[in-house]
Amino acid sequence: MKRRLLRVAVVLACVALMAVSLRGHQDQPAPAKVVHVVAERFSFTPSEISIDAETRVELRISSEDTTHGFRLIGPGAINVEIPRRGRGEARVVVQIAEPGDYVFECSKLCGAGHGFMRGKLRVRAKAATP
């Protein structure tokens, strides 16, 4: 009897943990904007992306050929692998407070022109509300 109660308690605890975990994801606000980016030897298209400061923007990055990387240079820890062609896409949600130009680049050596594979994320100041 005790064993059965223990099993039930463990199962309930797991269910509760899963519910809390899912709730956590659902609490994330949806991005205000989605930008599709294509990575290909040796460029990102678009290579210049403009977003508004403090706005959640999701970058959906797919590859037309090999595995690439997406790394946003500067403070933070954004560095994600972009799967090879037909193997899915990488998603990066950014919300940047400070206006300015931020360079992003391929972080996975992808061939002779790897060093040219860079782009710019331009964060515009949010227009002041009257």
Binding site: A77, G88, V93
Partner: protein
């Protein structure tokens, strides 16, 4: 700044982001946080080997053509090293022709800002589609296009330094100063090919300038123009020879259709004096032209449905190339060097980085005496 990272496999409904990383705000952070995703490994590379079976009685050959290792090191966000070591034809033995071990690339990049960055070392000449983009899975055909062999001498690399960066609105550029070509090594049939000094104790009495401007703003479309210009007569100081190479190219992909086109023309100044000087010195007239020209058009269509784990494409390429397009006064144009070619075949990707290639190459020339080669080719190329 807050950031969420996720990788979503193909063919599945978008799921809630499974990984969430929250970084410090940009204003607060003093140093970059360590990167969580894998950096590029210290070594990458590509290889290709193939079987070339000429039609007729000529025996076929099997050749492990290229074994290439690339090295990458990031000293900091601003300072990087990239190197590429290539072994061609599997073996190199002293004083024997055949194999070649070459340092094709070894440069330091100093990244100042997106508009201007500095590069120095052994650099690929930024001319044409293939010279900087020659990993086997990304081009159709077992061999590289003829235009990228006898008009643009790929793989063309040289010691030099220069700048590169973004010019805004989807334009990007690179401009380098490099060691010049050696005009005394030019030939009638393969043009500039043997003239590159490859940064091996290269003579720099004159410095060549090369550059490329690309437009990459529109998805699926890539346009490029490039040039190379320099004095090339340092081995025969009594004459003045120059080379100007001008090229433009386009690649366009829409859905399953892939197309590309390239045109290049080479101008050799002082070709008559060059021919006369070499004839005096060696007793052999090299019959170098004053203009070379080449063009190709290629179309490919991916035929397998996207749900299939592999991929396959059929392709056709037409090339027209002439290494004696214009001859200097007093020199005769040889018709065997006025050539065109059809290359028809297929590429089958076991993986996006592993390609099996098959093609039939039919070269024609204007000569009634010198036959042009035809061959069936099978190759395997991969990138890792």
């Amino acid at each position: 700044m807050s950031a969420c990272l996720a990788v979503v496999p193909a063919g599945r409904a978008p799921a809630p982001l499974p990984v969430s990383v929250t970084g410090p705000t940009l204003a607060q952070a003093a140093t970059p946080a360590p990167s969580s995703a894998p950096q590029s490994g210290p070594v990458s590379g590509y290889m290709d080997f193939h079987v070339n079976q000429p039609t007729g009685a000529t025996p076929g050959v099997i050749d492990f053509h290229r074994f290439v290792l690339l090295f990458y090191h990031r000293f900091s966000d601003r300072l990087r090293f990239v190197g590429e070591l290539e072994l061609e034809h599997a073996i190199v033995e002293g004083l024997e022709e055949g194999g070649e071990l070459a340092l094709e690339k070894a440069y330091i990049d100093y990244l100042l800002r997106s508009e201007i960055n500095f590069r120095a070392g052994m650099i690929l000449v930024p001319v044409g589609i293939i010279n900087e983009r020659h990993e086997p899975p990304v081009f159709h055909g077992v061999e590289r296009p003829f235009v990228d062999t006898v008009i643009i001498p790929t793989t063309w690399f040289e010691a030099g330094a220069g700048i590169h960066g973004s010019a805004g609105r989807g334009f990007r550029y690179r401009i380098y100063a490099m060691a010049p070509l050696d005009a005394t090594a030019f030939t009638a049939g393969e043009g500039l090919r043997d003239g590159a000094q490859h940064g091996s104790e290269a003579v720099v009495r004159n410095v060549a300038v090369t550059g490329r401007l690309e437009y990459v703003a529109v998805r699926g479309l890539q346009l490029g123009v490039s040039f190379w210009r320099g004095n090339t007569g340092f081995n025969v100081p009594t004459i003045h020879t120059t080379v100007g190479l001008y090229e433009f190219d386009a690649r366009f992909t829409r859905g399953r259709l892939e197309t590309r086109a390239q045109h290049a023309r080479v101008f050799i100044g002082g070709a008559a004096d060059l021919n006369a000087a070499i004839t005096r010195n060696t007793g052999v007239n090299p019959n170098v032209a004053e203009q070379l020209q080449g063009t190709y058009l290629e179309a490919a269509y991916r035929i397998l449905p996207s749900r299939f784990p592999h991929d396959a494409a059929l392709f056709a390429r037409y090339e027209n190339f002439d290494t004696q397009f214009r001859m200097p006064a007093g020199y005769v144009k040889l018709p065997q060097f006025d050539r065109d070619a059809w290359v028809l075949g297929a590429t089958y990707w076991l993986d996006p980085d592993v390609a099996i290639k098959f093609d039939y190459s039919h070269v024609r020339n204007k000569s009634t005496a010198v036959p042009a080669p035809r061959s069936i080719n099978v190759g395997l190329g991969w990138w890792f």
